[in-house]
């Protein structure tokens, strides 16, 4: 479970939000919507430990998440808007690099995990290709697999449907539902309202549900 209390963020004296409270239960999908520039990505970066917050608390499965933007570990899995795959590594290597070097799992465990994820994300055929050879939807599924390989407590997506056509968007919806069935907690930032509705999860509206 993710619990966020009284989170506040200002950029150079400008308040982005001053009292953000939300909880996400295990296996839940929470969709964050709101107009452009309202602070959705800012919040996601704070959650991911990439950006410092001013005050508040965040905890994931009872464990506090640091707010100082200098977090270590991979408790929050992130699917960035432009994926940030590592271009010099194949699909499989992108997925296996962190489990190998950071989590220091055994080679056999790393291999088994990546085989399963490649299968789940329908990337088996592409496993030896490089990111530049993939479509947008495929890149996104690599990013999801790469994050899942570290077994994060929550998976956070920033605008997962930007640049995707209708079929690929449907694919994202299917993937998130499959992950939900396996108990993965997910937070999805989007301003694509039909997509938000189709996700069929709880909706958190940044325009009305946050104090600014």
């Amino acid at each position: 479970m993710l619990e966020i209390k009284n989170l506040a963020k200002t950029y150079e004296g400008r308040t982005i939000f001053k009292d953000l409270n939300l909880t996400i239960d295990d296996g839940e999908i929470l969709t964050i919507v709101g107009p452009s520039g309202i602070g959705k990505t800012t919040f996601l970066r704070i959650l991911a430990g990439l950006l410092e917050a001013d005050t508040g608390t965040m905890s994931l499965d009872g464990k506090a998440l640091a707010l100082d933007g200098n977090r270590s570990g991979a408790d929050v899995g992130v699917i960035f808007q432009d994926f940030n795959l590592f271009p010099q590594y194949t699909v499989k290597e992108n997925i296996e690099l962190a489990p190998k070097l950071v989590a220091k799992h055994t080679p056999a465990a790393v291999e088994a995990d990546s085989e399963r994820l490649l299968m789940e994300m329908d990337l088996t055929v592409q496993q030896d290709q490089y990111p530049f050879q993939l479509s947008g939807g495929q890149k996104q599924r690599v990013a999801i697999a790469r994050a899942l390989a570290m077994h994060p407590g929550i998976l956070a997506y920033d605008e997962p449907t930007s640049g995707l056509d209708e079929a690929s968007t449907q694919r994202v919806i299917d993937v998130t539902k499959e992950l939900q069935n396996t108990g993965v907690t997910q937070l999805i930032v989007t301003h694509d309202l039909p997509f938000a509705a189709a996700l069929n999860g709880r909706i958190f509206d940044f325009a009305t549900d946050v104090e600014r």
């Binding site: 991911a48 270590s72 570990g73 929050v76 899995g77 940030n84 590592f86 530049f132």
Partner: protein, 214 residues
């Protein structure tokens, strides 16, 4: 032809010296340049100031002067007396590391913040991020500029004559002066050309090998 064969051994001896200066400089200057480039991105103001000053001095004064300074200057000032070869190699490493550092700095700037973010959320620490994610991409980006410097280094190595080291250029000088002919210079030029052409092809090969991704 007979004459060429006669002077060839002494030229090849000089070539050995040239290759020695060249390869030791590369071996030292590339890693040092990378370290300096990383230091330039440091949060420590002092470290940034020191590396900046170092680069300014190394790039802002002639290499020839630096060689003279390290060999004669440090000795006269009673700091340290280095043998000729060591003095030359140390100077070349310090000088070329500064140029490499500038090239690598540009390479680091071409890597998007997203790569650092992607590594961080997966739990990579700073060193792992550099080692496995960023530096491999930097190497690819800087390869053409590094190739240029490598060719420059071959030619710059002739500057070691100033402290009396017997490199290829000096061997040619000696033969030309002794036998009052320009033929040794022709041969010297040919040998430099063979060296730079080989290196150019080698560097292109390396570039190609890194073209498997974009």
């Amino acid at each position: 032809m007979q004459y060429m064969l006669e002077i060839l051994p002494s030229l090849l001896n000089g070539l050995k010296m040239t290759l020695g200066v060249f390869s030791l400089t590369l071996l030292g200057a590339v890693p040092l340049g990378m370290l300096v480039a990383v230091a330039m991105k440091s949060k420590l103001v002092v470290l940034r100031a020191v590396t900046n000053a170092y680069i300014t001095v190394m790039r802002g004064t002639p290499l020839l002067l630096q060689i003279v300074f390290v060999y004669y200057g440090l000795s006269l000032a009673n700091i340290v007396t280095l043998p000729r070869f060591e003095a030359a190699v140390v100077t070349f490493i310090l000088n070329y590391a500064a140029y490499f550092a500038e090239i690598f700095r540009g390479g680091f700037q071409s890597i998007s913040q997203g790569q650092y973010d992607g590594a961080k959320v997966l739990g990579f620490n700073r060193i792992q991020t550099l080692r496995y994610i960023v530096i491999p991409q930097v190497v690819k980006v800087v390869m053409p500029s590094v190739g240029n410097e490598v060719i420059n280094l071959v030619k710059d190595s002739s500057l070691v004559y100033v402290i009396g080291l017997g490199d290829l250029m000096r061997a040619g000088n000696i033969a030309a002066a002794r036998d009052v002919t320009l033929v040794p210079y022709l041969l010297v030029g040919l040998l430099y050309l063979i060296l730079t052409i080989t290196l150019t092809y080698g560097m292109r090969g390396l570039e190609k090998r890194m073209n498997y991704y974009r």
